[in-house]
C-alpha cells in the first residue's frame, strides 16, 4: 500500500516588525511638515548602518508611495560621516545607536527627522523613538527635538505618541 505524505508548512519569511515600522515611517510623513525647501526633489529616507529588512521594506514602499509629489529615495549610510545630503528622515537602528551624537552633529540645522529604536534615546537627540509596550510597537515623540530641526508636528501625532521631553 502507498502511504499518506505531507509537507510541513514553512513559517512566513515576512519581517513583521520591519513592515510595521515602514507603515509608521510613512505615517510620520503625513503628520510632520517639512519646510518649503524640503518639498522638492526626492523625499530621502536614510538608514544608518545595516538594517537590510527595513531597507527592503522601505524600498518596496518607495515603489508605490509618495510624499505629495515627491518620490521616495532610500539610502544606506555605513557611517554618520557619510551623511552629506539633504535627507528628510534618518533611521538609526539599535546597532548603530552609538553613532547618534555624530549623526546629530552632521544634521544640525537641517530639517531631518531622526528616528531611533533604542531605549532612552528619545530624551537625547532622537525626535521619534520606537519602543515596545506590552509586546506592541509604539513610539515616543520628543516634540522639542523634532521642532529643533524646523519641523512641524501635528497634534494628531502627539495624541498617538508617548510624549517625552
Amino acid at each position: 500500500m502507498f502511504c499518506f505524505g505531507f509537507t510541513e508548512t514553512q513559517s512566513s519569511k515576512i519581517d513583521t516588525n520591519s513592515k510595521i515600522k515602514a507603515v509608521f515611517l510613512y505615517n510620520f510623513t503625513k503628520y510632520i511638515e517639512w519646510p518649503t525647501e524640503y518639498k522638492n526633489g526626492n523625499f530621502v529616507v536614510g538608514i544608518l548602518g545595516n538594517s537590510a529588512a527595513l531597507y527592503k521594506e522601505l524600498s518596496l514602499m518607495s515603489k508605490t508611495k509618495k510624499v505629495a509629489s515627491q518620490e521616495f529615495e532610500i539610502k544606506i549610510y555605513t557611517s554618520a560621516d557619510d551623511i552629506n545630503d539633504k535627507i528628510h528622515m534618518l533611521y538609526i537602528p539599535d546597532e548603530a545607536s552609538g553613532s547618534i551624537k555624530n549623526a546629530s552633529q552632521k544634521l544640525k540645522g537641517k530639517s531631518t527627522l531622526i528616528v531611533t529604536e533604542t531605549p532612552e534615546l528619545s530624551t537625547q537627540e532622537s525626535g521619534i523613538n520606537f519602543i515596545i509596550v506590552a509586546n506592541r510597537q509604539k513610539f515616543e515623540l520628543n516634540k522639542s527635538n523634532v521642532e529643533g530641526h524646523n519641523l512641524k508636528v501635528s497634534k494628531s501625532l502627539e495624541d498617538l505618541a508617548v510624549v517625552v521631553n
Partner: protein, 297 residues
C-alpha cells in the same frame, strides 16, 4: 387425470427452473474462469435473483470475484468504483453468511485487497486534490477493515490522513487566495482533530502553530503602507492574538522534539514578531548550534 397432468407439468417446470438456475451459477463461474467477465456478470446477477442461490454464500463469493475482476479491468471509467463497491458488498455478504466457511479466508483476503485499492486511491486523489473522493475512499477503506477486524485501531492512519489533508488545504490556500480563509479553517479543524487523537503529535502541534503564525504574518504583509496609525494599532492587537495562539503549539512541538529545525525557526519568528527579542535571539542561537552540529556530522 387432468390434476395429475398439471402436477407433472409443475414438477417438470420446477426441475427445469432449478436446472436453469444451476446453469446460471455454473455458467457464471465458467465465464469467470474464461475471463468473460461481462457475461459472468450477467449470469451471476441473474443467479442472485434466484431463491435457490441467493442464500448460498458461494453465489456471493463468485459475484464478489466477478465484480473484482471487472473493477481490475477498468482504470479510469466512472463505473470502476461501482464495480468495486458491488465486489465489496458481495464478499461481505458471503463472509457474513458463515465466517468459518471454506471461502471465508478468501473473502477476507479479497476484502483486504479491495480495501488497499481504496486506500491507494485516497492517496492518489489527495495528490490530485480530489479531496471529496479521497475522504470517501479513505472512509471506505476503514469501513472494510473494520468489518474484517472490528477492534482495529485507526489512530495512526487517521492522523496521517488528516495531516496530509490539512497540508493539502494549506497549500491550496496559497494558490487559491480568494478562498484562503475557507481552506485555512479546514486545515485548522483537521489539526484540531489530530491533536484530539494525540495531543503530543509533533506535526499537529507544529502545523497548528505555523498556521496561526502565518495568518498573523500575512495580515501584516498585506497591510498598505498608508494604513492609518489607529488602524495599525488595531491590527497589531489582532496579530498579537494570533501570535499568542501560535506560541503554545510551537512550544509543545519544541518540547516533543527540541532539534527540529522548522520548530526553532518558527519560534524565533513568533518571538520576534511578538517583540520578545531576548527569546527570539535564544532560538536564533539554537538554530546556529543545530546548523553547526549538522555541518560537523
Amino acid at each position: 387425470m387432468k390434476a395429475q397432468l398439471y402436477i407433472l407439468i409443475l414438477v417438470v417446470f420446477a426441475s427445469l427452473q432449478g436446472l436453469f438456475a444451476q446453469n446460471k451459477l455454473t455458467n457464471a463461474v465458467n465465464a469467470l474462469q474464461n475471463s468473460e467477465f461481462v457475461k459472468a456478470q450477467e449470469l451471476i446477477d441473474a443467479a442472485i435473483q434466484d431463491t435457490i442461490f441467493k442464500d448460498d454464500l458461494r453465489t456471493w463469493y463468485y459475484r464478489g470475484n466477478i465484480y473484482k475482476e471487472l473493477f481490475k479491468q477498468i482504470e479510469l471509467e466512472d463505473n470502476r468504483n461501482e464495480y468495486r463497491s458491488i465486489a465489496v458488498s458481495s464478499f461481505k455478504t458471503s463472509y457474513d453468511m458463515d465466517r468459518d466457511s471454506e471461502v471465508a479466508m478468501s473473502n477476507q483476503s479479497n476484502l483486504n485487497y479491495l480495501a488497499s485499492t481504496m486506500f491507494n486511491d485516497a492517496v492518489n486523489q489527495l495528490d490530485n486534490k480530489d479531496y471529496t473522493l479521497a475522504i470517501e475512499n479513505y472512509e471506505g477503506y476503514k469501513s472494510i477493515i473494520k468489518f474484517i477486524e472490528p477492534g482495529r485501531d485507526f489512530i495512526k492512519e487517521d492522523i496521517q490522513f488528516k495531516l496530509a489533508l490539512a497540508s493539502s488545504y494549506t497549500m491550496l490556500s496559497e494558490i487559491d487566495t480568494l478562498n484562503l480563509g475557507i481552506y485555512l479553517e479546514k486545515s485548522k479543524l483537521l489539526y484540531e482533530e489530530v491533536l484530539l487523537l494525540d495531543s503530543n503529535n509533533i506535526s499537529g502541534n507544529y502545523n497548528m502553530g505555523i498556521l496561526y503564525y502565518n495568518q498573523g504574518a500575512d495580515i501584516v504583509n498585506n497591510m498598505d503602507y498608508s494604513l492609518d496609525l489607529k488602524e495599525l494599532t488595531m491590527i497589531q492587537e489582532d496579530v498579537h492574538v494570533l501570535f499568542s495562539k501560535s506560541l503554545p503549539f510551537m512550544l509543545k512541538a519544541y518540547k516533543m522534539n527540541p532539534n527540529k529545525m522548522e520548530t526553532l525557526i518558527g519560534l524565533k519568528g513568533i518571538y520576534y514578531s511578538m517583540n520578545n527579542m531576548e527569546k527570539s535571539d535564544l532560538f536564533k542561537h539554537k538554530i546556529e548550534e543545530l546548523e553547526n552540529k549538522e555541518i560537523k556530522n
